[in-house]
């Protein structure tokens, strides 16, 4: 029986990232949050494996109490319970903190054979929490997995690298991070949403972990990235296309 933990993050919806007029300051007060897109593939992979091999799937997230809204959403995607590691101070965490908090929470007695994370988070995309968590738990890991098979007490993973595919074997317990191409996450239906509200949520607070988590990285600022371009638009009339061609040729970029 395969006991799986899938980690996810509740992140600002990128569609809601706006800047105040005439400023590079981000205005996120009214932004909606969602389960990080990359983590949806991790959740789906966990649930699919459980269907295939039996066992259990638990989801875990770290955040402020405001991330409570993520729990019903994640549970509607298939995991049978959720661990909610929360504290008002768990805000704007950097990867070394998130991974230490997750490790500390998992060590409170969560049982697992396999931990699955997304390739990175939808907001910071630092791609560190998976491998850092594996180190903290002292288990083997591999990242950017595009295909996964469980074979007895080991997993076989295809990793996608710049120079090709590497097929690796890892004994369980282990941690992997998965790429979006590994599966197609199902869309929860009404029945799944109703079932989600009956599933257990286990809360773990900062006090339960009995230690503090200091950041190693300090954020100096987060400002909108600027892309200043002239933005001249032409119509699709042949005469206008000629102007477009002339404009390109004048820059000397081709020809």
């Amino acid at each position: 029986m395969l006991r799986i933990i899938t980690c996810f993050k509740w992140v600002v919806d990128q569609a809601d990232i706006k800047t105040a007029p005439g400023s590079r300051e981000l205005a996120l007060e009214r932004a909606a949050y969602r389960i990080s897109d990359y983590d949806r593939f991790a959740i789906e992979e966990a649930v699919t494996l459980q269907e295939q091999y039996g066992g259990s799937t638990a989801a875990i997230t770290v955040g402020t109490p405001a991330a409570r809204k993520s729990l019903k959403d994640v549970l509607s995607r298939g995991p049978e319970k959720a661990y909610f590691v929360n504290d008002p101070s768990f805000d704007n965490l950097e990867p070394s903190q998130t991974s230490s908090i997750l490790a500390s929470a998992i060590r409170t007695g969560l049982e697992y054979d396999l931990i699955i994370c997304g390739e990175g988070s939808g907001d910071l995309y630092a791609q560190q929490v998976g491998p850092r968590l594996a180190e903290a738990l002292d288990i083997p890991c591999t990242t950017c997995v595009s295909k996964l098979t469980i074979y007895g007490h080991q997993l076989i993973a295809e990793r996608k690298l710049e120079d090709g595919i590497e097929v690796v074997t890892i004994p369980l317990p282990a941690l992997i991070t998965v790429l979006p191409e590994i599966n197609t996450p199902r869309i929860p239906g009404l029945k799944d949403t109703l079932a989600a509200s009956k599933k257990p949520v286990i809360e773990i607070t900062a006090a339960d972990l009995g230690q503090s988590f200091e950041p190693c990285l300090q954020t100096v600022s987060i400002l909108a990235a600027t892309m200043e371009r002239s933005g001249v638009k032409f119509t699709s009339e042949p005469g206008d296309i000629t102007k477009f061609v002339d404009a390109i040729l004048k820059t000397g970029a081709i020809g």
Binding site: Q14, I17, L26, E94, P95, S96, G120, L124, Y125, A126, Q127, Q128, P131, R132, A134, E135, P140, C141, T142, T143, C144, L161, E162, I165, E166, V167, V168, T169, P171, P180, E181, P215, C216, L217, Q218, T219, V220, S221, I222, L223, A224, A225, R229, S230, G231, K233, F234, T235, S236, D240, I241, T242, F244, V245, A247, L249, T251, A253, I254, G255
Partner: protein
Amino acid sequence: MAGVWILAESRSQTLELLNVAVGLADKLGTQVTAFLYGDSQLAQEYIAHGADQVLILPPLTEEQPLEDYVPVIAAEARQEDPDIFLLAATTRLKEMAARIAARLNTGLCSSCTALKFDETGKVLVMERLVFGGAALQTVTCRTRPQMATIAPRTFTPATPVADRKGQIRELPSPPPGLVKINKRKPKTRQSGDITEAKVLVCVGRGIEQEQDMALARDLAEVIGGELACTRPIAEELHWLPEETYIGLSGQQVKPDLYIGIGISGQIQHVTGIRDSRLICAINRDENADIFGMSDYGIVGDLYSVLPELTRQLKQALKK
């Protein structure tokens, strides 16, 4: 020996990191150490390009992944206490950097796009993109070593200096870890290298059928460009090889000319083209985000615009 350390997967990546490392080491009044595995002939070349010390990582067995070097490198770092450790942001090294940082209890700036040394605070001030490329995060690292991964081609390579001297030292062989390689399937390159191309024609979901790719191909041929695409075209539709998709998780490109066809301009894609010299776009939706990031755009149906544009460009370039 403290100092600035670098680790990359290839010679060209190493030379780029050496360029950054030498500048930082000058300001810190310290030395540069480069790791090397594989071809030990490169040690002298790295020294000529600015390394004061080259640490040779002994060969791995067939079934050992590169990540098996993590304990050896972390142990060396614990002993030598480097000030700064920079790694190339490849898939393998991003994992290794995170694991080494975890072992050293230090911070890591992932996929750093720019860095400078702050003389007063004596810290690295590092920039990276967040929110899919919509925002720029500036970070400093409070712990030692200050670590960052840097994408290949972010910096120019170091230039060699004649008669530079440096030390070469071999590190202990890494014991086999728990992750074993069964098989390697090297990538067969199916197309030109889009990161080297001067001109790119990039297609997005506005192209309705695979056969319509011919319209983009014709344009690329006339202007001497390579074909590139957005993530869904490569990963979901498989109309082009995966090494041709541009974006946050794909290739970063810097052509002289980029023409985006049927591309809405999602931030994850646009992040990969931001350093292009000239950005042009064709899209039927005049409110498409891509126009806000373009120098020149045509608002129109690509099925009528492309044949006419290709015809006119062919004529204009023939003279």
